[in-house]
Every structure is written in C-alpha cells, then in structure tokens.
C-alpha cells in the first residue's frame, strides 16, 4: 500500500478512537469540565500530562534542532524535563491540597486580590494562545505533507476534532483522549528510532545505541564517527556546542522554571484525588516524557549520519526520493554554487537569507531555483530542521507503514497539547473572569455553558491563527516560557513557602518580572532584531534565556516589597499552613 493510503488509514483510525472517547466521557458539571471531578488515577494523569506537555515542538521540532545544533540542543532536553522536578517538589502537591480549579484561582485566593487574579488571567491567556497557534499550524503541516490536502483544510479538520472532545468532554474527555494520544505518539516515535538504531548499531534501545559502536565492522563509536564526519565537512562537531556557558545556563533555567509555571501543566495536577497522587503522578509523567526525550538525541544523531551519507557528494538527478519530495514542499533547497551538478553539504548557511525564496523556475538539473544570494562558503544545501522527525524514516528507507505511523503521532502530539491549552483558556474566561469576577451569581449549569461557549470560541480563534499565522509565531515561543518563568513560578512558589508573602509583593513582583522580560524580548525580537547578537545582549544572555533574569528580578522585588508592606491577613496565613500538610 502507498504511504498516503496508509496515512489516511492510521490517522482515520486514531481520530475515530479520540471521538469515541469523547462521546463516552461527556462532562456534566463544572467540576468534571474543569478538573475531571478529581477522579483521575495517577498513572492515567501521568500519561495525560505527558501528552499535554509534549507538543508539536517536542515531537516534530526538537530532534531536528538537536540534529543540527548537537550539544547545544541539551538546553531543551534538560530544560523541558528538569522543570518536572521543580513541579513535583515545589508546586504540585501543595496546589492539589489547595484544591481549586485554576492557577488564577490560587493567585486570587492566596493574594486576596482581584487585581492579582486578573493579572494572572491575562498571563494565562497570553501564554496559552501563543502556544496553541503553533499546534494548529503543526496539524496543518502534517496534513498537507502526508495527505496532500491544503494546509488550511488540515487546520479545519484539526479544529473539528478538538472541538468535539474539548467542548463536549471538557477535562474528562481531554484526559482520556490524551492518554490514548500519548500511546499513539510514543509508539510512533519509538518504532522508527528502534529500527534505525538496530540498523546502525545493532542495539535495539536508541538511548544505548547512541553510545554504541557502529554496526559496519569498523568498531568505531557512533558519536565519534559523527564528530569525524561533521568536522571533516567544516561543521561544528556534533558533541561540541557553540553557545556561551552563561546563555546555556540561563536558557535552561528559564525553560525549567517556565515548564513548572505553565498553567496547562499545573492544572493537570488538580485532577487527581489526593496529595499523594499528585506527587507520584509527576513521577509517572516524567517517566513517560523521558522515554521520548532520551530517544530524541539518538534520532537526531542517526538522522544527521544518514543525511550526510545519502546526499553529500551525490548528483542532484540521482538524489533519493525524499530529497526531491521535501524540495517540492519547499523545506529543502539546493543552490549549485560550483555548477558541478553535485550536492555539496558543508558548514555554514548555504544562502542569504538562510531560508529559501523560490523563484518558481527550475534550474539546469531540474532543481527549484532560489532568489537568495549565495554565501561565500562551500555549503550548497538548505534543510529545514522541522522535517527531521517526519523524514528520517524515509531517509533510512523504512517501509511505508512506519512513515504513516509518524504522521499519526505528530497529529496526536499537536492535538493533545492544543486541547489542554484550549481548556485552560476557556476556564480562565468562564471561571476566573465570569464566575469569580464579573457574574458571581451564575449557577453551576450556566457556568458550564459559558465554559463550553468559551472553549468553542477559543477553538475558532486558534484555528484562525493557524490559517493566517502571524509572522512572529516562532519568535513568541520564547515569550511563553520567559513570561511563565518570570511571572507565575516565583509568585506560586513564594505563595507556598513564605507566610509573609503578601498581595503588594506578589503584584509588584509579577509586574516587574513581566515588564522586564517582555521589554527585553520585544526589543531584540521586534524593535531592533539586527542588534540581537551576543555583543549587545546583557551579560551575553539571549532573549530566550532572559526569563531567568526576569525571575530573579521578581524574587528580589517581592522580598523587598513584602518587608515594607503589612503582612497578609490571618486567614491567608491559615490557608498556607493548611496546604503544607496533606491531612489537616
């Protein structure tokens, strides 16, 4: 069967499964809609958290980034897993004991302030919309590449599916769908990785294969081989980094604290029955996540080796099929600088600007020509990093069903994250904005209706952003993590660990962290992007890592302000004492 037919089959079957779960798990009250009635088992919540957390970025982009950046990719690997240690030890058990529905709920009650709650609502909306736009786009890309439908049709199909189980099923529907989606995504990530690991090293575990000897009788370690290949071609050796130590440190710290402060992750820990369950559930979640994260560097290294082996020095006309197909999709480009008709893959960007602008014409070998200026290095090849996970089964010549499986996995990753984010957005509107602030007298039934309407509107907006992506989507991801690190993480942490922390300090700290981080990122991303070089950055910290500094600023401002303002009222101190012990 063709890859396309198989993809229709796999994607269709997985969608039927998600819809079936949605119908089975309809939510009937706000408690079920917001937190699945707090009846979810810790293992199921762990799997759901893993699917919620691992987005199109983790599934599709991360291995590609590592493949081309090598050692520098570690900031994502450590940052996006280390955050779970913070979450498990510092936040999850206490927030579960607090036992409300949302993150703004905690901020509003702990800081006895509507202003604090509203600041939190704005942050939640901003972070979640930023994030969801990328997911919808990811759905569209997978559809267009593998099912050969228009990207927009893909986005609309994705919206329809999410609409069904998020609006109908609420958190209950989302939770059980996410469990299924986790199974689909991890299976489809591991199968090709294991397969290629066996081909290259003979070791069936990709995490060990990465540290093993090549299977070709040379006895050379795989990573040594790859380092040799990359250095020989004038690229940075795979196991060497090119980012400065301080920047790596700050980016990793910002990603960790940001992960722990992301509202759609935190809210998952409201769905388990007990404090004890919240603790262990974070452990299960991290095991499920680590399975993909420890495989990703192996996928990256295998793909890099296979790419170099299959295209470097080869005549364009006899290049493998995947090369031509991805060139047709505009994600691979070849600029024949020395007119020898052969692909020359070297270090540095092949053209300027780095991403190709196709002219629509074909060159002498049949390649798509570009209007970019050639750079003066020898590299002739542009490969978009996002294609690595989707393309590596083809590059390694695996059978069609594996390729189809990866498409279904990519969709599962994007849809599960989108649904979790949309729920957080709808809850922020119906619960925090309407019930707790504007319309306190509505009944549970009315609140549930508002929650459904808000979810439906949010799905629509997310779809529109996916169809008409604002050019800055990629840049604003740094925003989401930076802002979560600089706003929520310190405020929640101090809210639990300091009884002296008061409303004035929380609001001042959140605003200081937010304004500082947002200003720094905006300056280098939008106002003066040309100046975004290590020489101009403060202390050499890139906009990606500035959230770490914003977080320190938040802590510092909070400490000063809480010393010079009145302590919180006794009933708030009682709340803090109460959430610190599991039974009280």
């Amino acid at each position: 069967m063709s890859a396309q037919l198989l993809t229709y089959l796999f994607v269709g079957a997985s969608f039927a499964l998600y819809i079936g779960i949605a119908i089975w798990s309809r939510s009937a009250s706000t408690s079920e809609f917001y937190v699945a009635g707090s009846h979810v088992s810790p293992v199921a919540n762990g799997a759901a958290t893993a699917a919620d957390w691992m987005s199109a970025a983790s599934f599709l982009s991360m291995a590609g980034i590592i493949a081309f950046e090598g050692a520098d990719g570690a900031r994502y690997l450590m940052g996006w897993t280390g955050g779970y240690v913070l979450l498990a030890l510092l936040l999850a058990p206490y927030l579960r004991k607090f036992s409300k529905f949302t993150v703004p709920d905690f901020v509003g009650d702990r800081y006895y302030s509507h202003t604090a709650r509203l600041v939190a609502v704005v942050c939640v909306m901003f972070i979640s919309f930023t994030y969801v736009a990328g997911q919808m786009r990811g759905v569209g890309v997978v559809f267009s590449r593998f099912l050969e439908v228009d990207i927009n049709v893909g986005v609309i199909i994705g919206m329809g599916i999410v609409f069904l189980y998020a609006v109908w099923g609420g958190m209950r529907g989302i939770t059980y769908t996410q469990v299924a989606q986790y199974c689909v995504l991890i299976f489809s990530y591991l199968v090709p990785a294991i397969w290629i690991s066996i081909i290259l090293t003979g070791n069936p575990l990709p995490m060990l294969g990465l540290g093993s000897e090549m299977n070709d009788g040379t006895g050379q370690y795989l990573l040594d081989r790859l380092d040799g290949m990359t250095t020989e071609l004038g690229m940075t050796a795979f196991t060497d980094g090119s980012k400065s130590t301080i920047d790596m440190f700050c980016i990793t710290a910002a990603l960790m604290a940001g992960t722990a402060g992301l509202p759609h992750v935190i809210v998952r820990f409201f769905t388990v029955p007990k404090v004890r369950d919240a603790r262990i559930s974070a452990g299960y979640a991290l095991i499920f996540i680590a399975l993909l994260y420890t495989t990703a560097p192996a996928v990256a290294a295998f793909a890099r080796i296979n790419i170099i082996n299959t295209v470097e020095g080869i005549s364009y006309t006899v290049a493998p099929e995947w090369f031509h197909k991805w060139e047709d999709s505009g994600l691979v480009a070849w600029l024949d600088k020395n007119h020898d008709g052969k692909v020359q893959y070297r270090g540095g960007a092949a053209m300027s600007p780095a991403a190709p602008n196709f002219t629509g014409a074909r060159g002498e070998q049949g390649q798509r020509t570009v209007s970019n200026a050639p750079t003066d290095n020898e590299n002739e090849l542009y490969i978009d990093r996002d294609i690595i996970v989707l393309a590596h089964p083809e590059i390694a010549k695996l059978p069609n069903w594996v390729i189809a499986l990866v498409a279904a996995g990519g969709l599962a990753a994007a849809l599960s994250t989108a649904a979790g984010l949309l729920l957080v957005i709808s809850t922020a509107v119906s619960h925090d904005l309407l019930k707790k602030t504007l319309m306190p007298h509505i009944t549970d039934k009315q609140e549930l209706l508002f929650a459904r309407i808000a979810a439906a509107v949010a799905v629509g907006v997310a779809g529109l952003v996916g169809i008409y992506p604002p050019g800055f989507v990629a840049q604003v991801v740094a925003f989401a993590f930076g802002l979560a690190a600089a706003s929520f993480f310190p405020v929640i942490l101090l809210g639990i660990f300091s009884t002296r922390m008061n409303k004035e300090a929380a609001i001042a700290g959140m605003l200081a962290g937010l304004v500082f981080t947002a200003a720094y990122i905006s300056w280098f991303k939008f106002i003066d992007p040309a100046a975004s070089t290590p020489a101009h950055w403060w202390f050499g910290i890139s906009p990606e890592g500035i959230g770490a500094l914003g977080m320190l600023l938040n802590f510092a401002v909070s400490f000063v302000v809480m010393r010079i303002t009145p302590p919180p009222p006794q009933e708030v101190v009682d709340i803090v004492e109460h959430i610190r012990v599991p039974r009280a």
């Binding site: 498990a88 060990l208 990465l210 540290g211 599991p582």
Partner: protein, 84 residues
C-alpha cells in the same frame, strides 16, 4: 503546631537536598563543567555530553520517586498522611 513545624522542617531538608542533586547533574555537570567532563568517556559517550543529553534526565526521574517514597514515610511518621 509543634508537630507541624517539625514536619515542615523535615520536608524542607529533604527537598533542598534533592534539589542540590538536581542542580549538580544538570547545571553543573551538564553546563558549567561539561567541557572538562568531556575528557572522560562512558562507552561511546563523552561524559559531559552524556550528562547533558541523557544522564540528567534519568536522575530527574529517580529524584521524583525518591521524593515520593520519603515524603510518604514522613507523612506517616508525623501522622499527617491522607486516609485511604
């Protein structure tokens, strides 16, 4: 009250020692001294590279499970555990 304070102190001690390990495997071994560690090898891995792309993640998982195990014991010892 006395009991609660002791429980909280024990909790903080456990938490801080686990976070110290968390910091050492990721920020120290994976970032600050990664180049120095890279002179050593673990099978085909340079040691620093292994910490930053594999080892730290395994340690994170272990840390959470140690925390769960020790906290459950602590809850029982101070009689603040949840009823089944």
């Amino acid at each position: 009250m006395e009991n609660k304070n002791k429980y909280w102190k024990a909790n903080l001690r456990l938490m801080l020692s686990l976070l110290a390990v968390w910091f050492v495997v990721s920020f120290v071994c994976g970032i600050l001294i990664v180049d120095w560690l890279n002179q050593f090898h673990l099978f085909g891995y340079k040691l620093g590279f292994w910490f930053s792309q594999q080892g730290s993640i395994y340690v994170f998982v272990v840390l959470i499970f140690v925390y769960v195990w020790r906290m459950n014991k602590l809850d029982k010892a101070f009689d603040v555990h949840e009823e089944d």
